[in-house]
């Protein structure tokens, strides 16, 4: 809040065109990189900046680039613009309003990694943003910032925008690569990591939109200067998407380390009058929930990890006391069940089972013992899957059961009291509750 970097002047009309972007100093970092710096120096600046991946995992970005083997094979840079995590919409605004910032970041990142081919994998729903980026790519090519021998440096880079077809799993980096290669978007076994064998088996850097868009600023400011912003382990600023029961939902750029209360109440205005925060997702729908007692936690990678949650993609979803926790859990579980690719067992079966159990909880056909089973199923999913999709459901659901056990039990009791013969009886059907409990039929 003291300083905006990515969102500085973001609302300037016409910023999506190359002329306005350049007038505001755009592509100067790129010029400096290509004319005055070596790839190693760029990587060193990124490492010095302490920038951590903004997509969710928070892996140090400079280090990721330094993992790319220095061998003479085709290397790739892929920008993950799938932004499919529920609650996350920061990249959308960045791409829509300042596409050239992303393109500049991609060229800088590709130069550091030695990649000559780059791709933006954008989610299919971002139709408008995709059109804007396509137009920006053409502008950048015409201006000589993409293509062959960029700015006379001898560095070549092609950039292709690829539209996804609407699968959450294609935001997982290896699923994204398979999808980009034209295959079914299933996550791959790691190792080999994409840095060694990624797209078309070549060394590949995969970064989030926000991460790449930050790179020109790091070059402009210098890595050491950037590292002064934020906290020691979470440097810089972060875009947070605040949604849910707040009065001013939207994207905000914050300095990492500010208090969460300041974001939720200060920037987003807190819940509507008369209501109180019940719990909140600090980093997208896959982060374990925190309660109102945690509102004074500093919003940075380490503090949230210590609180057994995570900063994730920086999407804060606020749920106030007008909502039932079971509703949120069920909605969430259904989403992950729907999006599970089906490749590995715990996620495929665990998400489906969890949804079935939550439906029983919701309709009063469960007992408190089922909550124990449900909690144990989440334990069985966590850490045992091929990728993190299974954990993405298990972590928040497990945290809700732990933190709101009483409410779950109360929900079961209330539903049963409302409707002692099960949901079928309400609908006027002749479903026999015993039959449903006996698990016969689909």
């Amino acid at each position: 809040m003291t300083q905006t970097i990515l969102f500085s002047g973001i609302d300037e009309p016409g910023l999506n065109t190359i002329d306005v972007y350049r007038r505001r100093g755009g592509y100067e970092s790129l010029r400096r990189v290509l004319t005055q710096m070596t790839p190693e120096q760029v990587t060193d600046e990124l490492i010095a900046s302490g920038l951590r991946g903004r997509g969710g995992a928070g892996f140090p970005s400079g280090k990721k680039i330094s993992f790319i083997p220095k061998v003479n094979v085709d290397k790739y840079l892929v920008c993950n613009a799938d932004e499919s995590e529920p609650g996350t919409f920061k990249d959308r605004e960045l791409m829509q309003k300042s596409p050239h910032m992303l393109i500049e970041g991609i060229v800088i990142g590709a130069f550091a990694a030695g990649a000559n081919r780059s791709f933006i994998y954008i989610r299919g729903e971002y139709v408008e943003q995709a059109d804007i980026i396509d137009a920006a790519i053409l502008e950048a090519q015409d201006a000589g910032f993409l293509g062959e021998d960029i700015l006379g440096s001898g560095f070549d880079l092609s950039l292709v925008l690829h539209r996804g077809a609407g699968a959450y799993i294609c935001g997982e980096e290896t699923g994204l690569l398979d999808s980009l290669e034209g295959k079914r978007g299933n996550p791959r076994l790691k190792p080999p990591f994409p840095a060694n064998q990624g797209l078309y088996q070549g060394p590949t850097v995969i970064n989030n939109v926000e991460t790449l868009a930050t790179m020109p600023h790091i070059i402009r400011m210098g890595g050491a200067e950037y590292a002064k912003i934020g906290t020691e382990s979470s440097t810089g600023t972060k875009l947070v998407s605040v949604s849910g029961n707040v009065r001013r939902p939207g994207n905000y750029e914050i300095e990492l380390g500010v208090s969460s209360r300041e974001i939720i109440y200060g920037l987003a205005g807190g819940p509507p009058p008369g209501r109180d925060v019940k719990f909140w997702f600090p980093g997208g729908s896959s982060s374990p929930v925190l309660t109102k007692d945690d509102l004074d936690l500093a919003y940075d990678f380490n503090t949230l990890a210590q609180a057994k949650s995570m900063l994730g993609s920086g999407a804060i979803i606020v749920v106030d006391d007008s909502n039932a926790v079971v509703d949120v859990a069920l909605k969430l579980a259904k989403f992950y069940k729907h999006e599970s690719c089906g490749k590995c067992t715990p996620c495929r079966e665990g998400t489906r089972w969890t949804v079935s159990m939550l439906e029983r909880v919701d309709s009063g056909l469960a007992t408190p013992m089922d909550l124990d089973i449900m909690a144990s199923v989440q334990e069985q999913i966590m850490g045992n899957c091929l990728c993190v999709l299974g954990d993405a459901m298990a972590m928040p659901v497990a945290s809700m059961i732990t933190k709101f056990r009483d409410e779950f039990e109360g929900h079961i009791e209330a539903a049963r009291a409302r409707n002692p013969w099960g949901p079928g009886a309400v609908a006027g059907g002749d479903a026999d509750p015993v039959l449903i409990q006996g698990a016969v039929g689909a």
Partner: protein
């Protein structure tokens, strides 16, 4: 690509220190320490692991999360534990998850009793489930193909079948549709999964989701016995296990042998067993009485046969088909040479090769093995379509290209299914294999000598033109074989048809010249590998079923007639009796017209057969019932020199006798008793008679066979003429000039078991004429239209198939099918193709 030769490292598993090759996956390495790690999706045969089922999670010291043992290579000093509470918990969790959507219908499931899911659940499962919700449902069972039923509810989505289709057989048909728990295995468009190797997915399936239609509900694991033998369906001689219930074969499984089949089977080999028990099978000796074949007793049949052979004496001709064992072949030549003083016997389809050339083509110093195909730098396939001629080698070649970067070159007349995997594809006119080899030899000579060398300028162009090939393609091929000058492992795989026919001898010399230029002598990992026309083609030659060589390729005192000459002589009346061991000339040999005359004219036609195909039905005078593949005892020799043992899996039905017994009995009646009283005795006599088999015993052969070229006895291999040879200018391939060049091929499905086995009947097909669309347009032929293919008064009907990959000016028709076989026409000539 040299074979991997990893270092041995030491790691600990459950506290026990174990040595293992570095890089081996933990799931396999654990077995070396007698620790079993349960797996579902992991199958080393399928290539890289996918880590999908999560069953094999183990704890590795220093790594916080549990790791999948199937995808973690062992490293020196690694400490692995598989028995901790954490691992146990994860294993129980995965099994609980797997079973929640599994119907648990084990009592009615074919897999029950031999099911990995059952076994692993008993071994590692939690024992109870907490799942009380409704299970996922699918329509079931569905026919994935006429051979395979799919029960999607039982499927645990291990990806094995999909990976087989995508990465092993590369037919790219099976995919997973939908997502999450609703995923299911299917073909993309719902078409039946029909492919030459589809049956392997049944064996790969770790649950009862994919079951064999012919085996469904026929037996339970406690009803059956397994009996190992070798498939006689084609020259690849895959090792199989027959599943036997009450003296009937109910199923064929692979008996993995990496030196032979890599653990796969083709569908013909897997499902053809039904023909063993077909009603039409000949199970009694038959004799022609008043024009009809009627069952007779053995004594009468043998007496009559002996009398007929005695009467014909040296004017007897004998032909052995490919499924004849070494013992039977040896006894046949004893009968012919010893009993009848007739040298007129052959096991090749025509064209005699000098002994020294036989010796050269199969010299132990120049012999490639099947695994060499997988690890060579370059593989050249000449005049051979592996998927038809030796199906399992097709998979081996694909594996080499996919996993080891083998550079593949295809030289053939007809487009090959391996073209897409090849770096160089060269086409030549049908029948111009010799000219092609001569041209390739010239191109190699040119590159040896460098530009401006002594070789006559333009010679490659001239020879390429004679072969109907492109000189540039041949030069590219020569470069590929040469590589960048280093010694390269080059394997040349060729089909026997290259060295058959009138000019086979010249083709063999040209091939040996090429081999001499690119394959260093006595160099492991490189060499020639022949795909014989018949299953035991190599063995039959080695035991002396040749007109010009006795057992062990020893010189024969009398030079007899080869197959084509026997046919011609019989048609002319000079051969009076024909002895047909597992062969019907009208069905299996070219020149049908000649053979029809020969069979008609011969005084006696004595045959060993399990089925009465056209020629035998109409012309045989005496038929001895032949054993089915599963009843046979003896040995056969693999194309790479591996002597393999056949073991009877079931009893012979009705009056069927062992054929070694019939041959020995007949020989004795002709006053030449070979002194063979049992199957093993026949083998022992054979091993004595063939110098390079000396010292072999059935015990040594065991279940895996022995490659004799790798034994000391190989020193007794006869002297070979390795060349280099001065080559003749080959005849120019005929110029189409409005007609089309005739090429023939024999598809994997052209076999009598496909016509007889109910499960395979759907794969029978009528004659098809493959030609290029531009030729078709010129001739007014439409795709799918009926055409007549003919020349010199003989003709066949066919359905036109337009393929743009067929070279212009050629038409390809199929041999070995029941009706309208290409054998009616002369190979390599010109034919007219006209719409009907």
């Amino acid at each position: 690509m040299p074979r991997p030769n990893p270092d041995t490292i030491a790691f600990t598993i459950d506290g026990l220190e174990v040595n293992a090759p570095a890089g081996m996956m933990l799931a396999d390495a654990a077995k070396l320490g007698d620790v079993e790690i349960p797996v579902f999706c992991y199958e080393p045969k399928l290539g890289a692991p996918v880590g999908a089922c999560r069953m094999c999670l183990v704890e590795i010291e220093g790594i916080p999360k549990l790791q999948t043992a199937c995808s973690t290579p062992v490293r020196d000093g690694m400490a692995v534990t598989t028995q901790t509470a954490r691992v146990k918990e994860a294993q129980e969790a995965v099994l609980e998850f797997l079973l929640i959507n599994h119907p648990l219908d084990c009592p009615v499931c074919d897999k029950g009793g031999e099911c990995p899911l059952q076994d692993i659940t008993f071994g590692w499962g939690p024992g109870r489930s907490r799942f009380i919700e409704p299970k996922r449902h699918f329509v079931k069972p569905l026919a994935l193909s006429p051979l395979i039923a799919i029960d999607r509810e039982r499927c645990i989505l291990c990806y094995r079948c999909v990976r087989f289709s995508q990465e092993i057989s590369e037919d790219y048909q099976l995919v997973l549709q939908e997502r999450g728990a609703e995923s299911f295995v299917s073909t993309f468009d719902g078409h039946p999964y029909v492919a030459p190797f589809s049956g392997n997915i049944v064996e790969l399936c770790p649950v009862g989701a994919l079951t064999s239609q012919p085996y469904r509900f026929r037996a339970r694991p406690w009803d059956i016995e397994g009996s190992g033998s070798v498939c006689l369906g084609c020259p690849t001689q895959c090792n199989v296990e027959y599943t036997v219930r009450d003296e009937r074969v109910l199923r064929v499984l692979s008996r993995q042998h990496d030196g032979v089949d890599d653990g796969w089977l083709c569908d013909r080999g897997r499902f053809g067993y039904q023909s063993f028990h077909a009603d039409q099978r000949v199970t009694h000796p038959l004799m022609r009485v008043d024009g009809e074949l009627v069952p007779v007793g053995w004594e009468r049949a043998l007496d009559e046969a002996a009398a007929a052979l005695m009467a014909a004496g040296a004017q007897t001709g004998a032909i052995a088909g490919g499924t004849t064992t070494n013992e039977e072949g040896w006894l046949l030549q004893e009968l012919m040479r010893g009993g009848l003083s007739s040298p007129n016997l052959d096991s090749r389809q025509g064209g005699m090769l000098p002994r020294a050339l036989h010796a050269a083509l199969h010299a132990p110093s120049l012999q490639a093995t099947v695994p060499d195909l997988e690890f060579a730098h370059a593989v050249l396939v000449i005049d051979c379509e592996p998927v038809d001629d030796a199906p399992i080698l097709d998979l081996r070649i694909r594996k080499g290209v996919r996993r080891n970067g083998v550079q593949l070159a295809i030289a053939s007349s007809r487009p090959s299914s391996l073209d897409a995997n090849a770096q160089v594809v060269a086409r030549y006119a049908p029948g111009a294999g010799e000219a092609f080899c001569v041209a390739l030899n010239a191109a190699l000579a040119e590159s040896d000598a460098g530009p401006g060398s002594a070789g006559r300028h333009g010679i490659v162009e001239e020879l390429a033109d004679a072969a109907g090939a492109d000189a540039a393609e041949i030069r590219t091929l020569a470069e590929l074989l040469r590589g960048d000058g280093d010694v390269r492992d080059v394997v040349i795989l060729y089909a026997e048809r290259l060295t058959q026919g009138m000019r086979g001898e010249h083709a063999a010399r040209a091939l040996l010249n090429v081999a001499g230029r690119v394959i260093p002598a006595d160099y492991d990992g490189a060499g020639l590998l022949e795909v014989p026309a018949g299953t035991n083609g190599r063995g039959l030659r080695e035991v002396g079923v040749l007109p010009n060589a006795g057992p062990g390729l020893e010189p024969s005192t009398l030079i007899g007639l080869d197959t084509a000459a026997i046919g011609a002589s019989a048609a002319a009346g000079a051969i009076r009796a024909l002895y047909l061991l597992h062969v019907d000339p009208l069905r299996d040999l070219p020149a049908r017209r000649t053979w029809r005359g020969a069979l008609r004219r011969a005084d006696a036609v004595i045959a060993h057969a399990d089925f009465l195909s056209e020629g035998l039905w109409e012309h045989a005078t005496i038929v001895f019932p032949a054993e089915s593949h599963a009843e046979k005892e003896g040995t056969i020799t693999h194309p790479d020199g591996r002597v393999q043992r056949l073991r009877p899996a079931i009893a012979r039905p009705d009056a069927v006798r062992a054929e070694w017994n019939v041959l020995a009995d007949l020989s004795a009646r002709l006053d030449h008793d070979p002194q063979v009283l049992s199957g093993p005795m026949a083998s022992a006599r054979l091993f004595e008679a063939v110098p390079f088999y000396a010292g072999l015993t059935l015990d040594e052969l065991g279940g895996r066979g022995v490659r004799w070229p790798a034994r000391p006895g190989a020193a007794s291999w006869p002297a070979a003429d390795m060349g280099p040879f001065g080559l003749e200018v080959p005849p120019h391939a005929p110029t189409p000039n409005g007609s089309l060049r005739l090429g023939t091929f024999r598809s994997i499905w052209a076999a009598h078991e496909v016509e007889i086995a109910p499960a395979l009947k759907f794969l029978r097909h009528a004659q098809r004429a493959e030609l290029h669309p531009s030729d078709a347009e010129r001739l007014g032929i439409a795709h799918g239209g009926r055409v007549t293919v003919g020349a010199h008064g003989s003709q066949i009907s066919a359905t036109a198939v337009l393929r743009s990959s067929v070279p212009e000016g050629s038409v390809f028709v199929e041999q070995g099918i029941a009706e309208d076989s290409a054998a009616e026409l002369d190979d390599g000539g010109l034919v007219e193709v006209t719409p009907q």
